[in-house]
Amino acid sequence: MKMKALLLASALTATMISSAPAMAARDYISIVGSSTVYPFATVVAEQYGKSTSFKTPKIESTGSGGGFKLFCSGVGVEFPDITNASRAIKSSEVETCAKNGVKDIVEVKIGYDGIVIANAKQGEPLKLTRQEIYLALAKEVPDPKNPDKLIANPYINWSDINSSLPNTKIEVLGPPPTSGTRDAFVELVMDEGAKSFEFIKKMDKKEFARVAQTVREDGAYVEAGENDNLIVQKLQANPAALGIFGFSFLDQNSDVIQGSIVEEQAPTFENIADGKYSVSRPLFFYVKKAHVDVIPGIKEYLGEFSSEKAWGEEGYLADKGMIPMPEAERAQYAEAVKNLKTM
C-alpha cells in the first residue's frame, strides 16, 4: 500500500512540475561569454546585486565564441542580454546576429588582460623574445643551418635556441585550443615570432597560419586544461617548467611564481596598462539594446561596470587583476554606455 502511495506521489509531483508555466518574464540579467572576462564580470555583478534592489545577474562562462553563439540566437527573454568576450566580435558573428534579429548591439571595451609566461620562484627568471618562444613551441621552425627551409622542431633545451638562456628542457604548460587565452597567445606571440622570419612572413595566409600557429606535439608543449590554477600548482612542483595563463593568476600568486620578461618588458600591472608589455589583449562585453528596457536593471549594471570605482585605475576590477584602459578610452566607452551607442 505504501508503495502505491509513493508511486502516486511521485507521479503527482511529475505532473505538477511539467504543467508549471515554463516561461515567465525574466527578472534577472542573463550574461554569457568569455571565461577570461568571467572573474571580472562576476565581481561587478555581485557588487551590483548587493548595492541595488535588482537580482544579481546570472553569469555563465561559455567562452567567447560560445557566448556570441548564444547571444546572437535571437531577441527575447530566453536569450542572454550581454555576452563577454576576450576578443572583438567578428563580422561573421555580426551577420549571424542580424539574421536572427539582433541588430542593435552596444560594444563596450572594459580593459586589458595580459598573458604571462611564468615559472616558479625557485626557477631562474627568463628573458625571452617572441621569436624565441615561437622557436621553442612551433611544430616546424626554420632550419638553423639553412634558414629558408622548414624542419621539424629540433630544439630540446632553451639553450639550444639562445645560448644565454638556461640549459633546461623546454617544457611549457599551456591552455588547450578551445581556450581564448590560447587564441590570444597564438595571435600575439606565435604569429609575431613567425613574422620575424622574412620567408615565413611572405607565405600566403593559409600557409602562414599553419606554420605559425601549429604547436609542437612532441611533449614540449603540454595542454594543461582550462584550469589556470592547476598550471600554477604544476609550476610549483616542477621549477623547470613554464606556464602560460592570464595575468590575474600571476597577480594572485606573485609569492610563488614569477613572470618571464618578454621583449624586454616584465609582465607588471603598469607595463600592461601602458601597452609596453606586448602580450596583452582587450576585453569586451556586448549588450543587446533591444533588451535594455525589457529586462530590469541592465542600465544600472552597465552603469556599475563603467563606473570609476569598478574599472578605474583604483577600481575593484584592478584589484582582481584586470588592467584598466587609459583615462581617455574609459571616458569614451563610458559615454558610449550612457548613450547606448550601437555598433
Binding site: 508511486l7 546570472k58 597577480d251
Partner: protein
C-alpha cells in the same frame, strides 16, 4: 608404500596435490588483501588531502571594529542609502590614527572585507536605535588577511612578492596583539551563495540547487524507471523489439552524459522553451542520465525475485498486475532503491550535461524555486577550483567535503529505507 601402509595410492595422490591447491588459495587471498590495501590507501590519501586542505575553510578570520554609528552618517530618509563603506573606513582610520597618506589608507581599508559595509547596513536597518551608539562589531577580514592568519602565506618572502605588504603585516600584528583578530566558525560558508570574494563565498546556493535538481530527477526517474523496468521484465512480449529496447537501454547507460546535456538543450530549452540554467531543466536532463541505471537495476531486482513467489500468487488466482504490485515489487524494492541511489549519486556528481544547459554559471542569489537560476555542488567546486584567488583553494576542498557529506547522507538514507522495506515482510 611400505612406510605408510595404511595410505592407499589414491590418498597419496590426493595428498601430493594438496599443497598446490592450498597455495593457490593463499595466493588468491594475498592478492585480494593487497587489492583492498591499495584501494584503502588511495581512499585515505584522497580523504586526507581533501580534509587537510579543506578543514581550514570551516573557520574564517574576523576583525573587531569599534564602530560609532555617528548621527552625521544617517541624515537621509533612507537608512540603507547611507555611506556604510565610508563608515567602515572612518572606523579603521580612527583605530589607526597614525595612518595618514592616501595610499596607506587604501592599504588599511583592504584589510576588511567589502562585506563589512553590508553587515553594518543590515544591522542599522534592522535596529535603527544603534544610531548614535558605539558598538564592538566583528566583521569579516579580507581573504588575504585570512590566508595570512591561517598560515597559507609565508611572511618571510620578499615584500614585493607578498600579497600582504610590511605595513599591513604590522597593522595585522597590532590588531592580533589587542585581541581584535580571531578565527570563528564560518557560518557564512553554510548560509550564503557564491561570491567572488572568497571570504564571503558560501555553499548554500549550490546545495539548494543540488537539492532542487535531484528532487526533480528523483521524482521523475524513479516512477518512470520502475514502471519501465516492470513493463519490460513482467509484461513485454519476448521478441526482437524488446531485445532492441534492452540493448538500447544498456547502451544509454554508457553514453557520455554530455550527450544528454545536448539533448536537453535541444528539447527542453530550444523546443519546449524552458528557462536556461534552472534546476527544472537540470533535473530533467539528470532524469535522462539516471533512467538507464534505474531501469537496469530495477530489472535485475525483479529478476532476482524467486519464481516461486510469482507461482504462488498466480496459483491462487492473482492477476498479473496483482502479482507484481502485491508480491514482486515489494520484494524487488530494496534492489530498486539501491539502483536509484546509485543513479542519484551519479547525478549528484554530474557537471558535464549541466554545462550545455547553462548551469555552470555565477549565481549569487539562493534559488527559491525550481525555475530560479541555480548551480549545483560539483559545478561550484569546478568554478572555485578555477578562480584565481588563493583562498578559493581551501573553499574548493571544503566544498568537496560537503559534497562527500551529501553523498554519505544519501547513501545512509538509502540504507535506512532499504532496511525499512526489507523488515516490512
Amino acid at each position: 608404500m611400505q612406510n605408510t601402509p595404511q595410505q592407499s595410492p589414491i590418498t597419496l595422490r590426493i595428498n601430493a596435490g594438496l599443497k598446490k591447491r592450498y597455495n593457490t588459495e593463499k595466493r588468491f587471498k594475498r592478492m585480494g588483501i593487497s587489492a583492498i590495501v591499495i584501494a584503502m590507501t588511495f581512499l585515505v590519501f584522497l580523504f586526507g588531502s581533501i580534509i587537510s586542505n579543506g578543514y581550514t575553510a570551516f573557520q574564517q578570520t574576523y576583525i573587531q571594529l569599534d564602530v560609532s554609528f555617528d548621527q552625521t552618517f544617517f541624515t537621509g530618509e533612507n537608512l540603507a542609502a547611507a555611506n556604510f563603506p565610508g563608515l567602515v573606513k572612518k572606523t579603521l582610520y580612527s583605530m589607526f590614527p597614525d595612518v595618514t597618506s592616501r595610499n596607506d589608507k587604501k592599504l588599511l581599508t583592504q584589510l576588511v572585507s567589502s562585506n563589512a559595509a553590508f553587515r553594518l547596513m543590515g544591522m542599522v536597518t534592522k535596529d535603527p536605535k544603534l544610531i548614535g551608539t558605539t558598538q564592538k562589531i566583528w566583521v569579516l577580514a579580507d581573504d588575504d588577511v585570512d590566508m595570512l592568519i591561517k598560515g597559507h602565506y609565508d611572511r618571510n618572502v620578499a615584500e614585493s612578492n607578498r600579497r600582504i605588504n610590511d605595513k599591513q603585516l604590522a597593522w595585522i600584528d597590532a590588531l592580533a596583539a589587542n585581541g581584535k583578530i580571531t578565527k570563528k566558525f564560518n557560518t557564512q560558508f553554510f548560509t550564503s551563495g557564491d561570491s567572488r570574494e572568497p571570504e564571503q563565498a558560501g555553499i548554500w546556493g549550490a546545495t539548494r540547487g543540488s537539492i532542487y535538481t535531484l528532487f526533480i530527477a528523483l521524482a521523475l526517474s524513479f516512477p518512470i524507471g520502475v514502471a519501465a523496468a516492470i513493463y519490460l521484465e513482467e509484461f513485454a512480449p519476448n521478441n526482437g523489439w524488446t531485445d532492441l529496447i534492452e540493448i538500447n537501454i544498456n547502451n544509454l547507460a554508457a553514453v557520455p552524459s554530455i550527450i544528454f546535456g545536448l539533448l536537453g538543450l535541444a528539447i527542453f530549452i530550444n523546443f519546449w522553451g524552458m528557462p536556461r540554467s534552472t534546476p527544472l531543466v537540470g533535473g530533467l536532463v539528470l532524469t535522462l542520465v539516471t533512467l538507464p541505471t534505474i531501469i537496469i537495476a530495477g530489472r535485475a531486482a525483479l529478476k532476482s525475485v524467486p519464481p516461486s513467489i510469482r507461482e504462488a500468487a498466480l496459483g491462487i488466482g492473482a492477476s498479473k498486475i496483482q502479482m507484481v504490485t502485491h508480491h514482486v515489487l515489494p520484494l524487488a524494492m530494496p534492489g530498486m532503491l539501491t539502483g536509484t541511489i546509485i543513479g542519484m549519486a551519479r547525478a549528484l556528481g554530474e557537471t558535464a550535461p549541466l554545462l550545455m544547459i547553462g548551469m555552470i554559471a555565477f549565481i549569487v542569489d539562493i534559488p527559491g524555486s525550481v525555475t530560479d537560476p541555480a548551480t549545483v555542488l560539483p559545478v561550484q567546486i569546478f568554478l572555485w577550483a578555477d578562480s584565481p584567488e588563493r583562498a578559493f583553494t581551501e573553499k574548493t576542498s571544503a566544498a568537496i567535503i560537503m559534497l562527500l557529506a551529501f553523498l554519505m547522507l544519501m547513501n545512509g538514507l538509502a540504507v535506512y529505507f532499504r532496511n525499512k522495506f526489507e523488515r516490512k515482510w
